[in-house]
């Protein structure tokens, strides 16, 4: 790859960035869906009566056990068989988001369980109900503790959004294939460019999460540096 190749790639950067914007939209959709469903699933797994807990366990087992690309196909082609014609974008958010919720549930479950049981007993002794004790005492600490593990999930699902082109979402990989289809010689440089864009994005994202972690830290809760 010589220098002149990069001057050929440069005009295509805006198109790739437009694709990347779709990846970011997918990310925001799927990670917020995963966050909400993940926290609820983790709460159920830890605190709900056994049968419900088992159901939540089965849910995470399914979404952690099926390959992502299969989930994408199941949601995109499968839902329309039942008369629910979801768009490719929405199917991708749903499939990747629910999958992420299963992983996030494990992160949150670990965090819930790491809060000493004595705190719960103390809260109950002070007259808080079980639910209020969870919401006001356990949850705020557990969510903070989850951030480190959660940044891992963030980096992972950010890159997973590139799988969405398999069901026809025109994101960055699809844009790259358009460019490639009319400039065969740019195949490698285009993918190097895509890789660089993702490197920057994961760096910025993890930086933000790291800042949040430091800002939100509860003094005395975890091992102090």
């Amino acid at each position: 790859m010589n220098l002149s190749v990069w001057t050929e790639v440069a005009p295509h950067a805006p198109v790739l960035l437009r694709g990347l914007l779709i990846n970011i939209q997918l990310l925001l959709g799927l990670i917020s869906l995963g966050l909400v469903v993940g926290v609820v699933t983790a709460l159920i797994e830890v605190y709900a009566p056994r049968p419900v807990g088992i159901a939540a366990g089965a849910y995470t087992w399914f979404f952690r056990g099926v390959p992502e690309i299969v989930l994408l196909f199941l949601f995109y082609f499968g839902l329309s068989q039942f008369g629910v014609p979801v768009s490719a974008f929405f199917a991708a958010v749903l499939a990747l988001g629910l999958r992420s919720s299963a992983y996030q549930a494990q992160i949150f479950r670990g965090a819930f369980q790491s809060i000493p049981h004595g705190q719960m007993m103390a809260a109950r002794a002070l007259g808080l109900g079980r639910l209020r004790a969870i919401v006001h005492v356990v949850l705020p600490q557990a969510l903070r503790l989850s951030l480190a593990g959660w940044s891992n999930e963030f980096s992972s699902v950010l890159k997973d959004t590139t799988l969405a082109w398999g069901i026809g979402v025109v994101e960055i990989m699809r844009q790259a294939s358009y460019i490639r289809a009319r400039n065969f010689t740019l195949t490698l440089p285009i993918y190097v460019t895509v890789a660089l864009m993702f490197l920057v994005l994961t760096y910025v994202g993890n930086l933000a999460i790291g800042l949040a972690e430091r800002k939100l830290r509860v003094p005395g809760l975890e091992g102090q540096r």
Binding site: P11, V15, F73, Y76, F77, S80, Q81, P85, W165, G166, I167, G168, V170, R174, S177, Y178, R180, A181, R182, N183, F184, T185, T187, L188
Partner: protein, 281 residues
């Protein structure tokens, strides 16, 4: 005067209703396979298949929505009711015909075997035991290698896309690639002096448009009438002249200049004439 005015208004309303009442069908295409379908520098969908579909829709009075779909997903999508017509250079095969219906063939395409320039390989030498030959997954090229060359001892290497196969060919990881003649010619043009066509395999293969099994929306008769009309009008040959030969960049700028004649004026013949006129030296 008033009567005329009212009549005019009624006519306009009626025309509006007719246009509104036109059925809309979803056309699926893997829009990364020039010159049959690709995305221009400015993001427009163009190519032979797509313009043919647009022209047929105009002649037969329906609307289409082009939806870009990866090749392997088009047939599943049509089976699942996520699209109505597949227009993506589909080779007519018995296996595919089991699950969807094909239109009459609209294109003859044989397979070209591309090798590194100066490798000195001809067709017989590519088909020797121990050779590695690449093809795009799910295409006729890969089926053909599987059926004809693998029994001779050739190993088939499959790729998600054609450009990836070319990269591996250039890197020396495979000895040749089997792909349709027209995309192969384009690749040779783009990689001038690096790859060449060793020969053309006469597979007798033909392309067809495809619709759901049993053609529940009765689209095939309309497609057939449309293709016949395009041929009668001379549009068909003009589109072939425009799309097969000139460089992609030249086609894109001609297309941009002319496409409104097709989409706004809805005149396929004048559009095809404009396109070829722009492209003639």
């Amino acid at each position: 005067m008033k009567v005329v005015g009212v009549a005019f208004l009624m006519a306009v309303l009626l025309a509006g209703c007719l246009a509104m009442g036109q059925p809309k069908y979803i056309v699926l295409s893997d829009i990364a396979w020039a010159p049959f379908e690709w995305v221009s520098e400015k993001g427009a969908y163009l190519g032979f298949d797509l313009d043919v579909m647009r022209a047929i829709a105009i002649l037969e009075g329906f609307e289409i929505e082009l939806r870009d779909t990866p090749f392997d997903s088009i047939i599943p999508a049509i089976i699942a009711g996520r699209g109505d017509i597949g227009a993506s250079g589909f080779t007519i095969t018995e296996e595919r015909a089991l699950v969807i219906n094909f239109s009459e063939a609209y294109w003859d395409s044989n397979q070209a075997v591309v090798v590194r320039a100066g490798s000195g390989l001809d067709l017989d030498m590519v088909a020797l035991p121990g050779r590695l030959v690449g093809a795009q997954r799910g295409t006729t090229g890969s089926f053909w290698i599987e059926d004809e060359w693998v029994p001779l001892g050739v190993t088939l290497v499959e790729y998600e896309t054609y450009p990836e196969a070319i990269l591996d060919l250039l890197a020396g990881r495979i000895d040749g690639i089997v792909q349709d003649v027209d995309p192969s010619k384009m690749a040779v043009l783009q990689y001038k002096g690096q790859i060449e066509i060793a020969g053309v395999v006469d597979t007798g293969e033909q392309f067809g448009f495809l619709v759901a099994k049993g053609d529940p929306k009765e689209l095939l008769p309309r497609i057939h009438r449309g293709v016949a009309a395009l041929k009668d009008l001379g549009v068909w040959d003009l589109l072939i002249e425009a799309y097969f030969g000139p460089s992609l960049g030249a086609i894109e700028s001609a297309w941009e200049k002319c496409i409104d004649i097709l989409l706004v004026d809805r005149d396929p013949l004048r559009y095809a004439q404009c396109l070829t006129a722009e492209l003639r030296p």
